[in-house]
């Protein structure tokens, strides 16, 4: 049983549930879709690496489309259509690839092996919304409630990525034999999405692009493999899940307060929403990978994996992406949250204070990455570890002063 992801998904479900009771995210159908999405994602993790798990994960993605559709607006329906297109195509491509490789247990003869890799590449890019096929994620972020996108990013996408981690163990040839393609996709995503995030004025699409940027990072670690790359991807994806709940949650709280979408033109929201402001800051710093957060535990290993594979050139790419992410988040923190509040009353139905339950959820999810950053070993699965996890759980204290690889 997956002793990390299942508790994580259940914790996210509990947190999002409490948050959504305090700050409504949709009607009754939204609740049904959200609960089913998480339940299917958890069931997929319980099923392990199998066709059942693949079917359940795909079902979770399809149900998540319903969550977007339940928004009811034209924009929501348009976004749901885009998301559905991506999910259907991604599912077809991924299933075909998995069928060709026997769920990654065998390598078919040429040219079927190449076809399988090409299909998997397309499927993964569509599922995770990587550049250049990211079209659905910003649209979903713009048109849906904050926690809808957060659930898709933190549960559905994280589940899909962890499935990829398993595939990395069972069929390494898919990644090592075609590394330039995977690395190209990862680099395109982490640079392209970081640049596009800088161009956004609305916060939710900015966060969506930031997710794509981070997925590029994580994909790079996964492709590079080895103890460092896999550990980087593992810790990185956990930080990603926790961070996105906090960031989208804080922006959702600001939307609740203002009664409209939050953009870079808003000012001083820390005055009416100090808890949401602090949570956003902590979440952003963790997401950027500043110690002592869980994000750092993942990111420094991804840097290490980058150095081992691509040397200084890849390090420069990673640096450029990190720098753009930092500039992007710092701009948001200082324009939207900190500083003097904008003059005049809030517009729309706004001006509402942050409900206590939502504040508590934000605080818990903001502090968790810091605490786990201090004790990352706690996040290692204790049962049925994948080989990459087994590598991590080797002799823990080779040198009490640290530093021994």
């Amino acid at each position: 049983m997956d002793t990390v992801l299942i508790p994580l998904f259940l914790g996210i479900a509990l947190g999002v549930g409490l948050y959504a009771r305090a700050i409504p995210q949709g009607d009754r159908s939204w609740w049904r879709f959200a609960a089913t999405t998480v339940a299917l994602a958890v069931a997929a993790r319980l099923a392990g690496h199998s066709w059942t798990a693949t079917l359940l994960a795909s079902a979770a993605e399809l149900v998540a489309v319903g969550m977007v559709w339940s928004g009811g607006t034209d924009a929501a329906r348009a976004a749901a259509r885009k998301y559905l297109t991506a999910v259907v195509l991604a599912t077809l491509c991924t299933w075909a690839a998995l069928a060709l490789t026997g769920l990654g247990t065998l390598r078919p003869g040429a040219p079927w092996d190449k076809l399988a890799v090409a299909l998997l590449l397309i499927g993964v890019a569509l599922k995770l919304g990587l550049v250049p096929v990211y079209f659905w994620l910003p649209a979903v972020a713009r048109a849906s409630s904050a926690m809808t996108t957060a659930l898709i990013v933190a549960v559905v996408d994280v589940g899909a990525f962890c499935e990829l981690l398993t595939l990395r163990d069972t069929a390494p040839w898919i990644f090592t034999g075609f590394a330039p393609l995977w690395i190209g996709l990862a680099v395109l995503s982490l640079l392209g999405a970081a640049l596009l995030a800088l161009a956004q004025r609305a916060l939710k699409p900015m966060l969506a692009f930031s997710s794509i940027d981070d997925m590029g990072y994580l994909l790079l670690g996964l492709v590079i493999g080895g103890a460092d790359g896999m550990a980087g991807a593992w810790f990185g994806i956990l930080g990603h899940a926790l961070g996105k709940i906090v960031l989208f949650g804080a922006v959702g709280a600001a939307e609740w307060h203002l009664g409209r979408a939050v953009t870079l033109d808003d000012r001083g929201l820390s005055t009416p929403l100090p808890v949401a402001s602090a949570a956003f800051m902590l979440g952003a710093l963790g997401f950027i990978g500043i110690p002592p957060t869980l994000g750092f535990i993942g990111h420094w290993r991804l840097y290490l994996a980058g150095a081992e594979l691509g040397g200084p050139l890849l390090l420069i790419v990673l640096y450029a992406s990190s720098a753009m992410a930092l500039l992007c988040y710092v701009r948001v923190i200082h324009r939207v949250w900190l500083g003097p509040a904008a003059a005049g009353p809030a517009v729309g139905t706004g001006g509402q204070p942050l409900p206590r339950a939502a504040a508590a959820v934000l605080l818990v999810f903001a502090i968790a990455p810091v605490l786990f950053g201090l004790v990352p070993n706690r996040l290692r699965p204790t049962l049925d570890p994948h080989p990459h996890v087994a590598e991590l759980t080797g002799p823990l204290v080779a040198n009490p002063l640290g530093g021994v690889k």
Binding site: A118, L121, I122, V133, F178, L195, W300, S322
Partner: protein, 616 residues
């Protein structure tokens, strides 16, 4: 818990107590608690001195089994002890000053004291970290604390703008540290500073990356521009930032690099670092001369003074390192004092603009005396620790035949003296400005005076008897970096191994003359301070007039006009604008091509993937 980890654990315990007792403690109570904790940590740090004097490096795990096979552990040697004693000692004095300074703050005092404690703990962890990863974690913790403290008044735009600049410049440059350690780990498989396997992996490129990170933290030109913007923080924050905890992190990193491969990095990077230090000395002081805001003036002097310290470290000799490290301690003392004086002035008058000050010596005589001692120290007046620091630095530069370094240092000292003469006269002497009329100006509270007075007293003590600092603190630090250095020093910092007995006698004459002058002054029944014109260095000025901050700033701007074009900020701004323009253009294209027509990118990816798999 061991005596090695005790200083850090005390601070972290204090942090937890601040959070737990926040509801029950008054702002003064929180301040007293924080001061007591840091003072206890200071005492605990002092217990580490005997071992460091004996050349023993104490080791202890702090966070065992942290991340897989990696742990965070301490290895406290002479250099660590120097920074630990400095951080906790200066920190305790500054927090004592904070007790009354922050008592009227309506909210955020728990946050303030809690983060201050973590800030100091971060410096201790940095100084004691056994490996580079632990040091990097501490490096960024210090950065985050500084960011939070500079932005303490987060509802004020000026404060948050300053915090933003601190974070962006130091963090972006700080990636140099991360990338450097990653390269070392990839090549050596270890990050322990003293592991022999690290030396071959610690190339000049890695050293350059570390130095870039250190330059940003230690405000070296051209990465210094964040520091004047960080002045809109509570004064204790500025004092701690400038004196002990933040800008000294870069100094520590440069010094610590000497333990790797016997300081092999110095051969390739020593001269560039020396050049950066020299430029920083001059740019910092020239920019300082043009300031009329007292805290900004002090901030630019921090830039200049850090240049001196880095020059000392970049010399790469035992005396150079001793000079740099002694300068580091001295700077912590006099700069912390100066900032606290500036804070006391602002607290009393409501302004720190030199154009609106004047004649404060009569209303704030204690603060004036403390200020003058610290100002004399930074200017390098004999009998102060600032003089000893410069004396050692110039001696070390002359030993290496680097006359140009001495010349730069000498010019920098003269300009520093000019700048502080302006600040002293404008703040404390002459006729009070009209802006102060009607205001009831009060002397700093006893605890504030105690905080800054104790540090000023140490400036004098270590100026007269520097060996008190050299023998137990500085010399073990130099030896821990692999230099076999024996302290040959007498009173006033005179080096007795250089045949300068005559100069020692000269120093004694200077001391005797000063005492005689003071005696004559007292016996002559000097007139009580009053509203008198100040000698302007030339023709008498009209009654009540005096050479003001504006006159001085204008003179400096005229004299050093070309230097002011060396401000790197416009360059950074151009990079940012270019980046946002490129991002905007990318969004326009991507929006039209990739987002509005999904089938197009899907088709492109399909073609690229299919073509790619056959080509790879």
């Amino acid at each position: 818990m061991t005596s090695t980890t005790l200083p850090i654990l005390l601070l972290l315990g204090g942090f937890v107590l601040q959070l737990l007792l926040a509801r029950w403690l008054t702002p003064v109570g929180k301040g007293v608690l924080a001061t007591a904790v840091v003072f206890a940590s200071f005492l605990a740090s002092l217990t580490l001195v005997p071992a460091s004097m004996a050349g023993v490096a104490a080791e202890a795990p702090l966070l065992a089994g942290w991340d897989g096979p990696l742990s965070i552990g301490l290895r406290v040697d002479g250099l660590s002890v120097l920074f630990m004693v400095m951080g906790t000692g200066i920190g305790a004095a500054i927090l004592l000053f904070s007790v009354r300074y922050m008592e009227h703050e309506e909210q955020g005092t728990t946050r303030f004291y809690a983060i201050m404690l973590v800030f100091i703990a971060g410096l201790l962890l940095l100084a004691g970290a056994a490996d580079m990863l632990g040091a990097y974690v501490a490096w960024e913790v210090i950065g985050l604390c500084s960011y939070s403290l500079v932005g303490f008044w987060y509802k004020q735009k000026a404060a948050t703008d300053g915090a933003r600049k601190v974070l962006v410049i130091t963090h972006l440059a700080g990636y140099g540290f991360l990338v450097g350690l990653v390269l070392v780990y990839a090549r050596a498989g270890t990050l322990v500073w003293t592991d022999p396997a690290v030396a071959p992996a610690f190339t000049s490129g890695v050293a350059a990356l570390f130095i870039v990170a250190a330059m940003a933290k230690s405000v070296m030109f051209p990465l210094h521009t964040w520091i004047p913007e960080a002045m809109n923080a509570p004064t204790p924050v500025s004092a701690l930032l400038h004196s002990a905890c933040y800008v000294k992190a870069g100094v520590y990193l440069i010094a610590r690099m000497y333990v790797v491969g016997g300081g092999q990095w110095h051969e390739a990077m020593g001269t560039p670092l020396l050049a950066v230090g020299c430029v920083t000395i001059l740019v910092g002081v020239i920019f300082a001369m043009a300031q009329t805001d007292l805290k900004r003036l002090l901030a630019f002097h921090t830039v200049s003074q850090l240049g001196y310290i880095v020059v000392g470290l970049a010399l790469g000799t035992d005396l150079g390192l001793a000079a740099g490290l002694f300068y580091c301690l001295s700077h912590a003392l006099f700069k912390g004092t100066l900032f606290m004086c500036a804070g006391a002035i602002q607290h009393a008058t409501g302004t720190r603009d030199l154009r609106d000050l004047g004649g404060l010596a009569s209303a704030m005589p204690g603060t004036a005396k403390v200020w003058i001692i610290a100002a004399a120290s930074i200017a390098g007046v004999p009998l102060t620790n600032g003089f000893v620091a410069k004396w050692l630095l110039f001696s070390a530069a002359l030993d290496k035949g680097l006359l140009v370094v001495v010349l730069v240092g000498w010019i920098g000292s003269i300009l520093t003296a000019f700048s502080f003469l302006k600040a002293t006269v404008n703040a404390f002497y002459g006729v009070p400005s009209t802006a102060l009329l009607g205001k009831r100006i009060h002397e700093a509270s006893p605890s504030m005076l105690a905080g800054m007075g104790s540090m000023a007293g140490l400036c004098l003590l270590f100026g007269v008897a520097p060996q008190l600092l050299m023998l137990p603190i500085v010399a073990p630090a130099v030896r821990s970096l692999g230099f076999d250095w024996a302290v040959e020093m007498s009173w006033l910092g005179i080096l007795t191994d250089r045949g300068t007995i005559a100069v020692t006698v000269g120093g004694g004459v200077v001391l005797a003359s000063a005492m005689l002058g003071l005696l004559v002054y007292r016996l002559a029944q000097a007139p009580a301070p009053g509203l008198v014109s100040v000698y302007s260095g030339g023709e008498p000025l009209p009654a009540g007039d005096r050479p003001g901050a504006v006159d001085f700033a204008e003179m400096a701007e005229t004299a050093f006009h070309p230097v002011y074009s060396l401000d790197p900020d416009p360059g950074y701004l151009r990079i940012w604008r270019a980046l946002t323009r490129v991002a905007g253009a990318a969004q326009t294209t991507a929006g039209a091509v990739l987002e509005d027509r999904p089938l197009l990118p899907i088709g492109l990816v399909a073609i690229a993937a299919l073509a790619g798999v056959w080509l790879v």
